[in-house]
Point group: C2
Chain length 116, copies 2
């Protein structure tokens, strides 16, 4: 965060000094997609639970007090983002985190909300 303090004059963006720090649209979309995973209370709670234990859909649906389809839909979303992985065992499907980075992001976000 080196706040370069640049005057606001350039009419042509290509010559603005901050230009080099502008992330391209495609990367921006992916970053946004990643953070979208945690940008919903239900998904945040799911990540929080799966961070500590492998759980099946039924457990999640009971713990969260939500409909089973609601949980399944969110799990599908998290699975598509490869943040969560599924392990089938009999008629149960156990979910767990599949991305350490996301757990760190989640923890930092949680800390930020709880203290300071």
């Amino acid at each position: 965060m080196s706040d370069e303090l640049i005057t606001c004059v350039g009419e042509h963006p290509t010559q603005h000094p901050a230009q080099e720090h502008l992330i391209d649209p495609e990367t921006a979309r992916e970053v946004a997609r990643l953070f979208s995973a945690l940008a919903d209370p239900t998904r945040a709670r799911i990540i929080g639970l799966l961070a500590n234990a492998e759980l099946c859909v039924g457990d999640l649906h009971r713990l969260l007090g939500m409909t089973q389809p609601a949980v399944s839909h969110q799990l599908r979303l998290l699975r598509d983002l490869r943040l969560v992985k599924a392990r089938k065992e009999g008629r149960h499907v156990y979910y767990s985190l599949d991305d350490e980075h996301v757990y760190r992001l989640f923890q930092e976000g949680l800390d930020h909300v709880r203290h300071g």
Copy 2:
């Protein structure tokens, strides 16, 4: 991530061992609100720019190639979340980051997208 591997049987959520890791709805909402800030390509790009330099609305709107109102609306959102602060100077308003945590979150998210 200590994946305790618990059997999926308890019909009553209150007695499930994972219960203690369940974050309450209010905290979950705040966490989600925090991550929502970065869960949009435009806002992610804004944070990325402001992470390196203080910029006025006009610069942002030119650099991003977006309408000025579009940028102002997103800045308003970020301001409400206290992630960004505004400094008025003449008829310009300079924005900069107001939250170190968010810069870290952003950087980690960006790294995660760029390399593994």
